[in-house]
Amino acid sequence: MSNALQTPVAPPRNGFSLGKIWTDKRSRGVIIQIFATAAFFAFIFWLLRNAVANFETLGKPFGFDFLWQESNYDINQHLIEYDSRSSHFRAGVVGVLNTLLVAVCGIVLSTILGFILGVLRLSPNWLVNRLSYCYIEFVRNVPVLVHILLIHGILVHALPGVKAVLKGATDDASQQFFLTNRGFYVPRPIFESGIWLVVAAIIGGIAIAMWYRRQARIKQADTGEQSPVFWMSVLAILGLPIVAYFLAGQPIQWDAPVPGRFNFKGGMALKPEFLALWLALSLYTAAFIAENVRSGIEAVSQGQTEAAHALGLPRGRTMNLVIIPQALRVIIPPLTSQYLNITKNSSLAIAIGYMDIVATIGGITLNQTGREMECMIIVLSLYLMFSLTISLLMNWYNKRIALVER
């Protein structure tokens, strides 16, 4: 034993040898990185060289000037002025707006449905609980594209045709909503000049509600007295605009669809493509959100509820003040990726002919002009932009509500 301790250990040799470069962790790291960089740039260079060579053999120019040519195609749903003489650029803008429209509508509906389903899934009522479980499992395990096509098929084939609806409608003149296989006809709002008063009232109402909420908090912190925050907010946000609406002389008129001989006049139609995409995306994503909500609420330990009850908080307050704030922290991150998924899945619109960005720029424009490279670059970078924006927003929100730890 003691012998072994006394045996002199040879000092490490400091001489240079080629093998050492590889055995030393740091120099090996540098070598690997140099090789990786070189390989990466070589690969990019190879791709670019091929692309240049291919463009030359085909005699194609590269550039985005084609965006200002006439598009020569129609888009059946456009939120801004558009016809077949507009430019490809404008077609692209219409596509982006359509994508955003269905994404935003989908996010709103799926969040509402998802939270309801998630809470039902936790219900102590066996029947409700099982039913929502069946719904969630069935919807989650079927591709979203099948949902879209199925709902679109049902809307187109099972709903009555325009002619049949027109025939039935003549008897009843007061009807304002018509569900046909060419779309859901609803009254269109026409805004008159007094509308700014209502808008101002809505903004003012929200501001007053927020101010009141803050005052109530301060008051509670000082005196312990509670104020009816919820009802006052409802009054401010809903009541004020209603008063303003009548003061301004009812500035919103409704242009109801009137059955004509061959089609409806006036009103606006929600196209079956939009309806199918919206419903399918919302129903599909709601099932995922429901699972997130459920796991979020389950992540709050039972002790929290018991502690709240021990403090004498009633059920509703326990939920609002103890459970939900903690559950939200768990729910928000996966919710973000669900919102991203809705936005990305809206690209499936092309399968049923809803004209989103993939169908306009990446579809018809691409086929008409033959500019695959430019069109795909536009589409890909737009989606990247959407995704980055949503994740930045959600990260910011996430940081704000994150637990402050020591």
Binding site: P124, A158, S347, I350, V358, L380, L384, L388
Partner: protein
């Protein structure tokens, strides 16, 4: 006068009615509060409204064998499954030559055989059987594409559920190792490697799969040496693999981050090199906790195989849409899509059940929750 018993000798009394069996269960689960009573009654009423018509449509009034849509409509008002029955061959095999279809069936049976030792750890002779599983991809390739004594079949004739299985299984098998490598790269201490992996993952996750498929079908030719053409199915397979690898990388990264730093340090202290410490210490623990996420990604991949219709490949949805344009059978889209939905539901639901089973089996941690 009741009977007299010695202390402790009194036989147990039966619990009061309503505290046992069915009645107790009903009271606890369906009628525990006024609100629950209302909820139960409402739900039962909704079910009463919805279920009978649904069953009538799907089974009792349905027509299972018919020659055309009109014959179906004449025979009953329910679903027209006769259409599916007529086209089941196409739905399963696509346009694979009829006389060669046994090869697809054989490949499928062998797939099941190859999966057994992988998925079932108590399988007899597991070690030997796994050799067969490793060999399986080559056998399947030979069986499906032909050559070496078999009639060659072009990939453009693949279709239906068979195409779904081909894309799904290949994607799953190839994307797992790639995803693990990407995750390790993203956690690496080498800045450039980390940066490359991160940007690749974020790019792929930021765009929809459908645009990547478009890239594969329209743009890829520009980036290859002039004159190269390669199979569209291969391009799709590469894109699907890259796509799901990026998602798997994120799931595995979550697992890697959950492993305490002490584990790597302990492995370092034992003198393990990077790859050995990853293989023996870190990854087994990290993969174990990421199993649910990985299986979810696989389920997503399997469902995403339907997207290949947008570039004109004939997966079940493509076959369905093509056959719906047949004038004899027009207007039966609900039946077709419900049928396809059932197929996907069965596959994906069993995958998710298996993941739950695996999760329970591997739950060897010390946390009691």
């Amino acid at each position: 006068m009741s009977e007299q018993y010695l202390p402790g000798e009194h036989p147990d009394l039966r619990p009061p009615v309503g505290q046992t069996g069915l009645l107790l269960w009903l009271r606890k689960n369906l009628f525990s509060s006024p609100f629950n009573i209302v909820l139960t009654i409402l739900t039962v009423y909704c079910l009463y409204l919805m279920l009978p018509p649904l069953f009538n449509w799907a089974f009792f009034d349905a027509v299972f064998i018919a020659e055309s849509r009109d014959a179906c409509r004449a025979a009953g008002d329910g679903a027209c499954w006769g259409f599916i029955e007529k086209r089941i061959g196409q739905f399963t095999f696509g346009f694979y030559p009829v006389e060669e279809r046994w090869r697809v069936v054989l490949a499928f049976v062998l797939l099941v055989v190859a999966l057994v030792p992988l998925l079932w750890d108590k399988c007899p002779n597991r070690r030997q059987a796994i050799w067969f599983s490793l060999l399986y991809p080559f056998i399947a390739y030979w069986l499906l594409l032909g050559g070496m004594g078999l009639e060659p079949v072009e990939t453009s004739r693949f279709g239906g559920f068979m195409l779904t299985m081909v894309i799904g299984v290949t994607g799953i098998v190839c994307s797992l190792p790639l995803g693990i490598l990407l995750a390790l790269g993203r956690q690496s201490e080498l800045h450039i490697i980390r940066w490359l992996c991160t940007s690749f993952i974020e790019f792929i996750r930021g765009v929809p799969l459908i645009t990547l498929l478009f890239v594969a079908s329209t743009m890829l030719n520009y980036f290859l040496p002039p004159g190269t053409t390669f199979d569209i199915l291969l391009r799709v397979l590469i894109m699907v693999t890259l796509f799901s690898a990026a998602y798997i990388a994120e799931v595995v990264r979550g697992g890697l981050q959950a492993i305490p730093k002490g584990q790597t340090e302990a492995a370092d202290a034992l003198g393990l090199k990077y790859w050995s410490s990853m293989r023996l210490v870190v990854l087994p623990q990290a993969l174990k906790i990421s199993i649910p996420g990985i299986v979810n990604t696989f389920i997503g991949l399997f469902k995403d195989t339907t997207l290949v219709i947008v570039i004109g490949m004939l997966d079940p949805l493509g076959i369905g849409r093509a056959s719906l344009s047949d004038i004899k059978w027009t207007g039966l889209s609900t039946e077709v899509y419900v049928f396809i939905a059932m197929f996907f539901f069965i596959c994906c639901f069993s995958m998710s059940r298996y993941s739950i089973y695996l999760e329970k089996k591997l739950h060897t941690g010390h946390r009691e929750d």
